[in-house]
């Protein structure tokens, strides 16, 4: 199956089961290239599950069964011949809790590149610096690149994880509640970074913070019990949502 929009996702009839439990039901959306798409919804609604289908992270979960198609860069990523390793290089991920490797700041960013077989020190140094600059972290860590990444603050660790993801030159960055463990200042830095990054990357972010979705995203999808209830331009969805369920959720009257 070929897709028309290269670089963006085109999702058709996506259904996902964890054993007998239906986690995603008939998802059909297109995700725009080089824009920020926010996924919102109550806990357990399937938004993180959906995010993880985009780079096949769910493959690692036993009894997980996926139906339908996700077209990305002209091919269905769930095709048997699809190269999952390459897919995850092109679609990076940042998690809720910063998870730097227990190694130096420099090694954290260089790790993926080394795994790819890059050995040239100058090339590595340049790539590490560029990734740290792009992740708005370089100025803060340039004099202590050899120190343990675990010595950084939570916000710095999260930006390091973003640097680690972008060092691999992905097309897409998936973020699963990347600021929920951070203070407002670190959160603001990450949000500003997301705004900068969308020039070069397609970003898909799960967030429980409505105001954050409003501030940083171009499109928002509202998930409820495994379905997408509403998907559209963020401004519209938050000012006059079309579906009463969306209205109830975003205004806090859901229950």
């Amino acid at each position: 199956m070929k897709c028309l929009v290269e670089g963006a996702f085109s999702i058709e009839k996506l259904t996902l089961f964890y054993g007998n439990k239906l986690a995603l039901s008939n998802i059909n959306i297109d995700i725009n290239k080089k824009q920020v798409t926010a996924l919102i919804g109550p806990s357990g609604c399937g938004k993180s599950t959906f995010l993880r289908t985009l780079n096949r992270m769910n493959d690692l979960i036993p009894n997980c069964k996926v139906d339908g198609s996700i077209c990305y860069a002209g091919e269905n990523i769930y095709d048997e011949q699809s190269d999952v390793i390459d897919l995850r290089r092109r679609i990076g991920m940042v998690f809720q809790k910063p998870n730097p490797f227990p190694m130096s700041i420099y090694e954290n960013v260089a790790y993926g590149l080394k795994c790819q077989g890059i050995k040239d020190k100058t090339v590595l140094q340049q790539a590490v610096k560029k990734a740290l600059v792009d992740a708005a972290l370089y100025e803060e860590v340039k004099d202590r690149l050899k120190e343990s990444a675990l010595s950084l603050s939570g916000g710095q660790q999260q930006r390091l994880c973003i640097a680690r993801a972008i060092a691999m030159s992905p097309d897409v960055i998936l973020m699963d509640e990347p600021t929920s463990a951070l203070d407002p200042i670190a959160t603001a830095k990450i949000e500003e970074l997301i705004n900068d990054l969308k020039k070069d990357y397609t970003i898909i972010i799960v967030t429980h913070n409505m105001q954050q979705a409003l501030r940083i995203s171009d499109y928002t999808a509202f998930f409820l019990m495994g379905e997408i209830i509403e998907y559209g331009p963020t401004g519209e969805l938050f000012s006059h949502p079309k579906n009463p369920k969306t209205e109830d959720y975003i205004t806090g009257r859901f229950g």
């Binding site: 409505m210 105001q211 409003l214 401004g235 519209e236 938050f238 000012s239 006059h240 949502p241 969306t246 209205e247 975003i250 205004t251 806090g252 009257r253 859901f254 229950g255």
Partner: protein
Amino acid sequence: MTYRAQFEKELEELKLELIKMGDEVIANIKDGLKSFLTMDGELAQLTIKKDKIVNEFEKTIEKKCLQIILKEQPVAKDLRLITAVLKMITDLERIGDHAADISKMTIFMQENTKPFFVKEMPLMTEASQKMIKKALDSFVTMNLELANEVIKDDDEVDDYFVQVKKIVAAAIRSNEIDADYALYLMMVAKYLERISDHAVNIGEWVVFSILGEHKHDVIF
């Protein structure tokens, strides 16, 4: 069931305050015109004083709206409602000013001994009062049809204005009306006409609050 009982309560209180402000304004228009038609200087003075209450209402409601925005970070229909309230109180306050303006005409006119009764004036007043009431009712009940009616009702008040102008012009020609009185009467008519325009504005904010569109423009 709702998870935001306190918030809901605050929104209800806000609506109630707005209705109280509206009632105050409507009473002032009525008294203002009564003072003019009966040349009652005392009532005029009282009405001018009562405009301060209207101004206080505006301040209090404005403060409440801003506090809600700060605390609750409202979105969707809540944001539209609070935005509409913030805009509507400005119109109500201006209507209050016009009620005081009409009363001032009474005070200016008290020297005059020859009033000239135009039966369209009380009708015009009644029509503009009704518009304000209807606009506020449409807001409380979120009734789109009623809000659109208010916008249309403006034509009636405009027609009255044209009629009053014709009658006054004829009276001037036939020397039946005192020159000063004619001028003040026209100013009162103009204030009433402006009052109905503000009622239309209120109606338009009710439409926004329901549909998210202001004068057919999508704002957000």
